[in-house]
């Protein structure tokens, strides 16, 4: 194991490697400390290439000491070269990192949960738990089932049906809270304190968040150990963006990437829940919480615990951020599906829509390499687009009826290459 302890991100106070997440002195978040010198000697491109196609190929940069027990097939999702979407957006080099097909529960959460539950098992916990907007509960339930652990999940009661069944199928105890996600989170802080369970995103948080770095490691490896110039990441509680930034820094630190500037990183939020965007645009440090009101329920976190770190990572990288309306989010989902055959959930639609905005605003130059970060799957949130997609044409099983219908559906002549097929 290449980790030496925990440290408070705010005041620097040190702590042992234990299930702790909050600094006793300043309440700041705790972070894992790595021995990068040792890692540099052990983790080379060849070692990584020799390992299975999962997030554990980067294990020296993850805070797990024993042989990983869960998530053995998680991560190493496709990095799709998105030429049709690039043409539509008028840019030269565009990729989509596609965690909508992550194993086993089709969201980026499988990364952070693999690490958290592996660590929980190292610590000897027998019960795992989480506060979730859906994807996390799915992931915790699935991994807990595979590991044979007891599992309790806490969700807002009004979550999409797909996400609820997508958790209960694995057999956890599911507690629906009458309230929004922030209410669920606050209750879970109190339950975590009292019951001694491994809440993956609370008392295991410093270990949990490290799993998100693998998203960034993979982007670099899949680009041929090269860093992209612009990366757009959705922001909910603020876990993934700062860790993707950290991943790129770590690759340089241990010499896996020698040259090239660190990417500019952009944050994407839903207009109906954009506390980080508001602070970013105002030039403020302090994030004012909001009450979420958006179809993008998976990123509807009004009080993002790591929002401050998102601001820092975005500013330090020279990036920016934008918000997308619910209508733009649905258009974003459709655009990605129709150009690249990837069906993402509203958080992904948000990221696509914000990327489009940032390009149109001139913030992202059209001639540079861009990666859009997709974190979840549209099959889980059908309600968001169900009323907005084309309904089937209804005919009887007669060739004549089809002939007539087909004749009446004259496709429009394409006016520009990128619009072909997008009627």
């Amino acid at each position: 194991m290449y980790i030496t302890g925990l440290v408070c991100r705010e005041c620097g106070q040190e702590y042992p490697l234990a299930p702790l997440h909050v600094c006793d002195t300043c309440f700041g978040p705790l972070e894992v400390v790595y021995d990068y010198e040792s890692i540099r000697q052990h983790l080379t491109r060849q070692v990584i290439a020799s390992r299975p196609a999962s997030l554990w190929r980067y294990r020296e940069l993850l805070p797990v000491g024993q042989e990983p027990q869960v998530g053995l097939h998680s991560g190493f999702t496709p990095l799709v070269k998105a030429d049709r979407l690039a043409a539509y957006l008028g840019v030269k080099e565009l990729y989509v990192k596609d965690d909508s097909v992550n194993h086993p529960t089709f969201s980026y959460k499988d990364r952070v949960v693999s690490v958290a539950i592996s660590k929980a098992m190292e610590f000897g916990f027998d019960t795992v738990s989480c506060a979730s907007t859906g994807n996390l509960a799915n992931s915790v339930s699935a991994h807990a089932a595979r590991a044979g652990l007891r599992c309790f999940i806490f969700i807002p009661a009004d979550l999409e049906q797909g996400k609820i069944v997508g958790s209960t199928i694995y057999g956890p105890r599911t507690i629906g809270i009458r309230g929004n996600y922030d209410d669920v989170n606050r209750l879970c802080s109190e339950v975590a304190d009292k019951y001694g369970w491994a809440f993956v995103n609370i008392n295991l948080r410093p270990y949990y968040t490290e799993g998100a770095k693998t998203y960034g490691f993979e982007i670099a490896e899949q680009l041929g150990w090269r860093l992209p110039q612009h990366v757009i990441v959705p922001t909910a509680g603020g876990t993934i963006l700062p860790k993707v930034a950290k991943a790129f820094e770590e690759l340089k630190k241990i010499g896996l990437i020698e040259s090239g500037a660190l990417p500019k990183i952009y944050t994407a939020q839903a207009a109906g829940c954009a506390p980080v965007i508001h602070a970013l645009h105002k030039g403020a440090d302090l994030i004012t919480p909001v009450k979420p009101n958006t179809i993008a329920k998976s990123i509807a976190i009004g009080n993002p615990a790591d929002g401050y770190y998102v601001l820092r990572a975005v500013r330090d990288s020279g990036g920016w951020g934008e918000a997308a309306t619910d209508e733009e989010i649905v258009e974003g989902i459709q655009l990605l599906a129709r150009t690249e055959g990837i069906f993402t959930e509203p958080a992904g639609g948000t990221t696509v829509a914000v990327t489009k905005k940032l390009i149109e605003q001139g913030r992202i130059p059209r001639g540079e390499s861009i990666v859009i970060c997709i974190t979840g799957n549209g099959y889980k949130t059908i309600e968001a687009v169900a009323g907005k997609v084309e309904q089937p044409f209804l005919i009887n099983a007669r060739l004549q009826e089809f002939d007539d219908l087909y004749r009446s559906l004259t496709p429009p002549a394409p006016s520009r290459a990128g619009e072909a097929g997008l009627h």
């Binding site: 705010e10 997440h21 909050v22 600094c23 006793d24 002195t25 300043c26 309440f27 700041g28 978040p29 959460k109 989480c130 506060a131 979730s132 907007t133 996390l136 309230g179 996600y181 922030d182 209410d183 989170n185 606050r186 802080s189 109190e190 304190d193 009292k194 809440f199 993956v200 995103n201 609370i202 948080r205 909910a236 509680g237 603020g238 876990t239 302090l286 004012t288 919480p289 009450k291 976190i301 009080n303 993002p304 615990a305 790591d306 401050y308």
Partner: protein
């Protein structure tokens, strides 16, 4: 006004291990000062030198974050439920 205040683990060394303590005051600010009287040292954990609630501390009155109310000036009445909770994690 007398209320019960739920105290998170990092603050329990000031309350002798108690997870819930009583406090009196007409506003959250007054409650914090009352807590300090009975549990010296606790206020410094909650508020910074300018008297503002620290970035990573959340205070809830009846389930509402005081940042949505009137922060430290939020009024307190008998029977209100007050919770001090460290920064909430995402998921």
């Amino acid at each position: 006004m007398s209320v019960h205040v739920r105290v998170p683990t990092p603050l329990r060394r000031f309350t002798g291990g108690a997870e819930e303590v009583s406090a009196t005051g007409g506003t959250v600010a007054a409650l914090v000062n009352d807590l300090e009287k009975n549990h010296p040292g606790i206020k410094e954990r909650i508020c910074d030198e300018n008297g503002q609630v620290r970035r990573f501390v959340n205070i809830f009155v009846n389930g509402d974050d005081i940042r949505f109310l009137t922060n430290l000036e939020t009024a307190i009445k008998d029977g209100d439920e007050v919770s001090i909770v460290p920064a909430i994690a995402g998921g």
